[in-house]
């Protein structure tokens, strides 16, 4: 495990390792100035920097492909940046290391942000991002494990990530392994019953090595969640299914970092983080706007967004 970026309060190799895992390609891009040695010593500053880069880069991908789900990319960007630059112990040069922390991207439609963070973390060259959704690209509209290192399971249909992540966490539980399993779902996605099956099993087995992060942007594809099939009181639901629940601001890097990097040892329950977010966060005309679930920008919109994302 020496080669992983370690968590706060974790092992000695900490900050130095963090600097080492910063992928070379990222430093070369014009949309980020991240990963200097200084920033690497302050995970939250690094995370903030990466989150901005993810927003910019994913929006560029969506603009160029004229396809994508930028609203959900933006609500998830801070969560993804925190995971990949502050929390996950992973080694891009050995993406199937049995001891790695797992991250399952259940909201598989948000490949803009997901591919961007994987590239930023060094799983594949940033240049590959320009092939997003192009013919024969490995950057499919939804992530494919057999195309790209860093993808744990193929997602796209909602409600698949948590059940698979539960299985991964059970493997870790059986082996008494150190690795943690994280999964990010949308909130509308929780209307799929498959999640509640897995919730029961994870609660029953007290999978403390499993962390679910809910991107609680309160919007699904066509409308607000509470107007469609209301999820509140969402915290009570998870508690009643045997989970420990924390509610936080999903755009607050420090709050995310602290909640996610805390050791799960002794919690005795799986952890559900309800991350309150906004769809389209970061760009004024996309903010909390359902039209941007799968909207794609025209030139003016793209340019305005890039000005705002600075």
């Amino acid at each position: 495990m020496m080669r992983y970026l370690s968590r706060q309060g974790g092992r000695e190799e900490g900050a130095a390792q963090a600097a080492r895992t910063a992928p070379p390609t990222v430093e070369e891009t014009n949309v980020t100035s991240a990963a200097s040695a200084g920033l690497a010593n302050d995970p939250v500053a690094l995370i903030a920097d990466k989150a901005l880069w993810i927003r910019r880069r994913s929006f560029q991908m969506v603009y160029e492909a004229q396809l994508g789900h930028p609203g959900g990319d933006f609500s998830a960007a801070d969560i993804l940046a925190t995971l990949y630059f502050g929390v996950l112990r992973h080694d891009p040069s050995n993406p199937r290391d049995p001891g790695r922390d797992r991250f399952v991207m259940s909201k598989g439609h948000c490949t803009g942000a997901f591919y961007a963070v994987l590239a930023a973390a060094g799983f594949f060259p940033e240049a590959q991002l320009t092939t997003y959704m192009q013919p024969l690209s490995k950057l499919n509209g939804h992530p494919n494990r057999n195309y790209l290192p860093g993808v744990e399971t193929n997602t796209g249909p909602l409600g698949h990530g948590l059940p698979v992540a539960t299985g991964i966490a059970i493997a870790g539980q059986i082996d008494n392994a150190e690795f943690r399993t994280f999964v990010l779902t949308g909130d509308g996605e929780l209307q799929e019953g498959s999640n509640w099956e897995a919730a029961l099993t994870a609660g029953h087995r007290k999978l403390e090595n499993l962390t679910l992060i809910i991107d609680r942007n309160r919007l699904q594809q066509g409308a607000r969640t509470e107007e469609t099939a209301s999820l509140d009181p969402l915290d009570d639901k998870w508690r009643a299914f045997g989970w420990h629940v924390e509610v936080l601001d999903g755009h607050d890097h420090r709050a995310l970092y602290e909640a996610l990097s805390k050791s799960p040892k002794g919690r005795g329950k799986p952890l559900c983080i309800i991350a309150n977010t906004f769809k389209g966060k970061g760009v004024s005309f996309m903010h909390d706007n359902v039209a941007w679930h799968h909207g794609v920008p025209n030139k003016d919109q793209y340019e305005q967004a890039m000005r705002e994302l600075a």
């Binding site: 492909a65 789900h69 950057l139 249909p157 509308g188 099939a229």
Partner: protein, 317 residues
Amino acid sequence: MSAAAPQPAGWHDCRDTFSKTVEALAEADPRIVTVVSDSVGSSKLVNFRKRWPERMVNVGIAEQTVVAVGAGLANGGKIPFVSAAACFLTARAMEQIKADIAYTNVNVKLIGQSSGIAYGELGPTHHSIEDMAWLRLLNNLTLIVPSDPWETEQAIRAAAALDGPVFIRVSRMPVPDLPRSNARFEIGKAETLREGDDLAIIANGVMVHRALAAAEALAAEGIAARVINMSTVNPLDEATILDAAKTGAVVTVEEHSVRGGLGGAVAEVLATHDPVPMRILGFPGFLPTGSADWLLEHFNLNAAGIADAARQLLARK
């Protein structure tokens, strides 16, 4: 989900026909309701919701339940049109379709939107190229794959008039209006769109206009290809297939896996009644990244590919 592709003039997205027809039916019959799983926009039902908000049931992202609620609404005297992306409506709710719909034999209309590979770049999880194989063996369930706006409207009207379960594939891929001299739609009856005795091309859905174009190309070489639109897959029009067998060669074309779908259904009829050489054109399985148009070209599911297959088959006849 994917951005609207620019549509050639005179080509149509049959989802528009679906919503227009359902609205017309709903005007006349208060029992008509729509049932969706966060699929209002993708089903083109925004206007329906505006007109009859109380007659649209949105269960959220829950395909098992969208189907089961449809079954319940039928029990309560409604005529529900359950509309969701074909890939999820079938795969995620297969047991509900089997038990609650087909086996219980209820008056529910399932609309599989953006069927086939219409979601192109969104990948195999969003492609529905298994649905004909999955559904055509469920008794009671009428299965229709319309080819153009006219037929989509006819299929939806016929489904509403039929007291029983129906599944209709509705594509978002733009298609032209097909030339028809004697337009008449009947569930379970195939339509011969072009006569010809050298071979028969049997297609459905978005492949029919491509089959007609292939026949046109073959005609220029003196090959008379019959073109049959097999829009109903269950119950299957075996008589028309057996008549096609008399040409001595059959090509099937579908926006579906080459296994178990339209080609499989035709192969079963031919092999057990009148074996003649066949080609089955479709997709090989999980597909690489690419737009719908790109995938159709890449896998030769176009006029040229169909004509090629026909020529090769004739050599074996």
